[in-house]
Structures are given as structure tokens and as C-alpha cells.
């Protein structure tokens, strides 16, 4: 009993370390990648004992700076809600990492341990529920600051997130139909099978349209540049105008954590999660007849590495998108969501249903 509790505790700590370290270094990736895109050098001055290594210490310097800034609440703000908002927004995104499957079950000292903190038959819905609660942080910060710009940002944020959540949920129905489960771990297991005997049965190949809809809706959910209306750096600064120091830092970290969660979801639902193509529980079985048997620990290690690699790829991809495209206008964002993505996702559900009933 006590061992089970300890295992859960260790898993939570490890997952949070992974999550927060990745968040911290995503800020570095963002700065370096934008610098390369804009033909600059980027942050490279932070050093420890003369060691610079491409500015890898920059996130630590940023964190120290943020912690020591003044924690200021404007006198006209609603003090309690103003303080509560960044914590709400941070908490609901951070808690979703508990549903992400990092790998297959491992066996330590005769005990089956799954590389996932929270496993239930509805983990996919759990992630969506927590992400939908994250709206409260934005709306509350916009409203409690009692500033017209923050109010505008909060309103835009709420409107945008609600509209795109519809498209996000509808695009996932196709995936749920193909891999008949709401458990993320089951969906990943299902993607380990093969299509026509050689193609990995990934969500991307079965549901290409759902992948595109999910990608756009998820980009809108992260509130970054093609869809950064709630923030709009050059026009309204956004719902966190009245925040400074670590509270502002929490909003910024929430943004980066959302990128990671979206990457995890894209990986898990459409790119096979921790599955490596043709890697079974006992080694590789290539479709052209070769077998390459591997020990169990190496297989699990490869799977966890594959999950990490895919997540890193999508993080990099989202930063690339953010620094490549200009911002949509507000009415264009709403038209894109309601008039294109939602009808397309409804069409995807009907088409998936027809094809599945014909094949069966």
C-alpha cells in the first residue's frame, strides 16, 4: 500500500521535473529559433565560470530575474481574483501532464509500473476538461485587473478558446471512432498494429483530415502568433497587462506548457505515441522479414526516447509556425473556426462513419 503511494509520488515528481525543464528550455529554443529566422545571434551572454554553451544558461538567468522583480497588484484591481488567476491558469495546464503515457508498462522487482500517472478509461476527456478549465485564468485575469485592454484580451481569449474547443473536440471524435477508446494508453497500443501488413497504424494515416483540423485548433488553443488575438502584443498587450514579476512569468510558462501539452497530444493521438514503427515488445519485426530481437529494457528505453523525440519535434514545429506567419484579424479567426474547421470536422465524422461501415 505505502509502496504504491510512493510510486505515484515519484512518478509525479519525475513528470513535473520533465515538464518544467522542457518548459524552461523551450524559452531558449524560442529565442534561438527566432534569432536564426531573423538572422540574429540571439541570447548568448549568460555564463557560468566563463562557460557559455550557446546561451544555455539564459533560462536560469531569466528565472532568477523574474523571481526578484516586484510583485505588484494595481490598487484598482480586485486583489483576490487578480492573485488567483495566474495560479488557476498554471494549475490546470500543469495537471494535464498526469494523463500522458510516456511509455509501456515496465517491470521493477516483480511490480508492474505504467509510465503514466493517472490512468482511467477517460484520460482523453480528462485532458480536454482540464484545458477547458484553463480559460478561467485568462477571463479572470482580464476582468480582475479592471483595465479596458486586459478586459478586451480576456474577452477575446474566452471567445477564441470556446470556439476552437468545439472544433478540437469534434476532430477527436474521428480518432475515437477509429481507435475505439477514450483511454490514451489504449489508443497508443492500437497504433502499434500494422496497416496492410507494413504501414504503422498511426492516427495520421487513418485520419489525415482530423489531424489537420486538430493541428489548427490546437495552435489556436495555445494563443500564439497566427491566433494571438488575446495577447496581440502590438495592439492591446493582452490579459496580463497588469501583471509583473513571477505572476506574469506564470502566464508565460503556461503558454509554453500548453505548447508541450499540444505536442504530447499530437504525438499520442496521431503519431503513435511511444510506439516505434515495427518495434514489438521483444524487438524489431521488419515487414520485409528481418527480425532483430532486443532485451526488454532497451525496448522500453527506445519507446520513451521515441515519445520524447516526437514531442520535441512538434515543439520545434510550433515555434517555427509562430515566427513564420503574421497574425489573423479577429473576424478572420472566428470565420476560420466556425465556418471552416467545424463543418470540416463534422464532414470528417460522417465520412469516417461511412467508410468504417463499408469496410466492416
Amino acid at each position: 500500500m505505502i509502496v504504491d503511494w510512493l510510486i505515484v509520488l515519484i512518478k509525479i515528481i519525475l513528470a513535473l521535473i520533465w515538464f518544467l525543464t522542457l518548459t524552461l528550455y523551450l524559452t531558449w529554443v524560442e529565442r534561438k529559433e527566432s534569432a536564426v529566422i531573423q538572422d540574429r545571434i540571439g541570447a548568448n551572454r549568460a555564463e557560468i565560470l566563463g562557460l557559455r554553451i550557446l546561451g544555455l544558461f539564459q533560462p536560469l538567468a531569466d528565472a532568477i530575474k523574474m523571481i526578484f522583480k516586484e510583485d505588484f497588484v494595481p490598487p484598482f484591481a480586485n486583489r483576490f481574483l487578480h492573485t488567483l488567476a495566474p495560479f488557476l491558469s498554471f494549475f490546470f495546464v500543469a495537471v494535464t501532464i498526469s494523463a500522458m503515457p510516456f511509455g509501456d508498462n515496465i517491470r521493477i522487482a516483480g511490480r508492474e509500473i505504467s509510465l503514466q500517472i493517472f490512468d482511467a478509461n477517460v484520460t482523453l476527456l480528462f485532458v480536454l476538461a482540464m484545458l477547458s478549465l484553463a480559460i478561467y485564468g485568462i477571463v479572470l485575469s482580464g476582468w480582475a485587473s479592471r483595465n479596458r485592454y486586459t478586459l478586451l484580451g480576456g474577452m477575446r481569449g474566452a471567445a477564441q478558446l470556446i470556439s476552437y474547443e468545439v472544433a478540437l473536440g469534434l476532430s477527436l471524435i474521428g480518432i475515437i471512432m477509429v481507435f475505439p477508446s477514450l483511454r490514451l494508453q489504449d489508443i497508443v497500443y492500437e497504433q502499434g498494429k500494422l496497416l496492410f501488413g507494413w504501414l504503422p497504424k498511426w492516427g495520421l494515416f487513418l485520419q489525415p483530415l482530423a489531424f489537420l483540423i486538430f493541428l489548427f485548433a490546437a495552435l489556436a488553443e495555445t494563443k500564439r502568433v497566427p491566433f494571438d488575438l488575446p495577447e496581440g502584443e502590438s495592439e492591446i498587450i493582452g490579459f496580463f497587462t497588469e501583471y509583473g514579476g513571477l505572476k506574469w512569468g506564470m502566464f508565460m510558462m503556461t503558454d509554453f506548457m500548453e505548447i508541450i501539452i499540444v505536442s504530447c497530444l499530437l504525438t499520442t493521438l496521431f503519431f503513435g505515441g511511444w510506439q516505434v514503427p515495427w518495434l514489438g515488445a521483444d524487438g524489431f519485426h521488419f515487414p520485409w522479414g528481418w527480425d532483430w530481437l532486443l532485451p526488454r529494457w532497451l525496448v522500453v528505453l527506445l519507446q520513451v526516447a521515441a515519445f520524447n523525440l516526437k514531442v520535441f519535434f512538434f515543439c520545434w514545429f510550433q515555434v517555427l509556425v509562430r515566427w513564420t506567419y503574421p497574425r489573423f484579424r479577429y473576424d478572420q479567426v472566428m470565420d476560420f473556426g466556425w465556418k471552416l474547421l467545424i463543418p470540416l470536422s463534422l464532414f470528417n465524422i460522417v465520412a469516417t462513419g461511412i467508410i468504417m461501415s463499408v469496410i466492416r
Binding site: A129, S132, I162, P180
Partner: protein, 163 residues
């Protein structure tokens, strides 16, 4: 642990609902109601019904209350409503309390015993879907038609008059 969580969540639910009734600030009311919905979701999860729990949170706390708060903040009422002081409101309220209390007692009396209610499939999305599309097909479809009708009606009402 489960007992502790049950009491914690129940206290949060009841306290936030009571605070919502007594608060006169519209935005606070909506937020307290959202807290109540979320902790109600936690109670469902404790009853081994994770599907109902997450759906409760997605629909009530994540969608409906966000829309409420959206409207309240958009209108931005500065001063709260004054309390109602009409005799017939109190009379109606008292009558409703008696009726609902009576109904609750009837329902609780007719509950099956605990061993009967908790079967393994309870609240599983697959079994719920099967029930919706077999035994409760007509109520399900009629409800969805009702929702579509309400949606079309509200769109018609909100439409700009073109003259």
C-alpha cells in the same frame, strides 16, 4: 482517503453554493457556481464514474459557466442588484422548498441498496453509449431535436433585422 476526499468535496460544494446564494456580486456568483460544478465532478469521480465526472466538468464548468461569466463581464454591472422584498416571492420559495424536500425524501427512499447499484460497467463510456443508442434511443434523439430547435430559435432571435 476516499472518505476524507468525499467530505472535503462535499463541504466545498455545499459551501460554495451557499456562498453563491448569499453573495450579491454577479461575477462572484458565477465563479462560485463554477467551483460547485467542478467539485461535483470530483464527487462523481469518487463514485467510480470518471466519464460522468469529466463530462460534468467539460460541459458545466468549462462551457456553460464560461459563457455566463463572459456575458457578466461584458455587461460589467458595477453595483449589485438590491435584494428582492416582495411577499409572494417568499411564499413561492417556501412552497418550492417543501415540494423539493418531499421529492428528495421519496427519491432517497426508493434507492436500490449499495451492492445493487455498483456494478463494474457503471459509468463506462462504452456501456453508456450502448444504453443511449438502444434502450434510451427515443429520449436521446428527442432531446437532441429539442436542443437543435432551441439553437435555431436563439439564432433567429439574435439575427439582425434587415430592412
Amino acid at each position: 482517503m476516499a472518505t476524507f476526499l468525499f467530505y472535503l468535496l462535499s463541504i466545498i460544494t455545499v459551501a460554495s453554493v451557499v456562498a453563491m446564494i448569499f453573495s450579491r456580486h454577479q461575477a462572484h456568483n458565477a465563479l462560485l457556481l463554477a467551483v460547485a460544478f467542478t467539485s461535483l465532478g470530483g464527487l462523481f469521480a469518487l463514485l467510480q464514474a470518471p466519464f460522468i465526472a469529466t463530462v460534468q466538468i467539460i460541459i458545466y464548468a468549462g462551457a456553460i459557466m464560461v459563457l455566463f461569466i463572459f456575458v457578466i463581464m461584458m455587461i460589467d454591472l458595477r453595483q449589485p442588484f438590491p435584494p428582492l422584498r416582495k411577499k409572494w416571492v417568499f411564499a413561492l420559495g417556501a412552497l418550492l422548498i417543501v415540494v423539493i424536500f418531499f421529492e428528495l425524501i421519496m427519491v432517497i427512499k426508493s434507492f436500490p441498496t449499495a451492492s445493487k447499484a455498483t456494478n463494474l460497467d457503471f459509468g463506462h463510456p462504452a456501456s453508456l453509449g450502448k444504453l443511449l443508442f438502444s434502450k434510451y434511443l427515443y429520449p436521446f434523439e428527442i432531446t437532441s431535436i429539442l436542443i437543435v430547435a432551441a439553437m435555431v430559435g436563439s439564432l433567429y432571435l439574435a439575427r439582425r433585422k434587415e430592412r
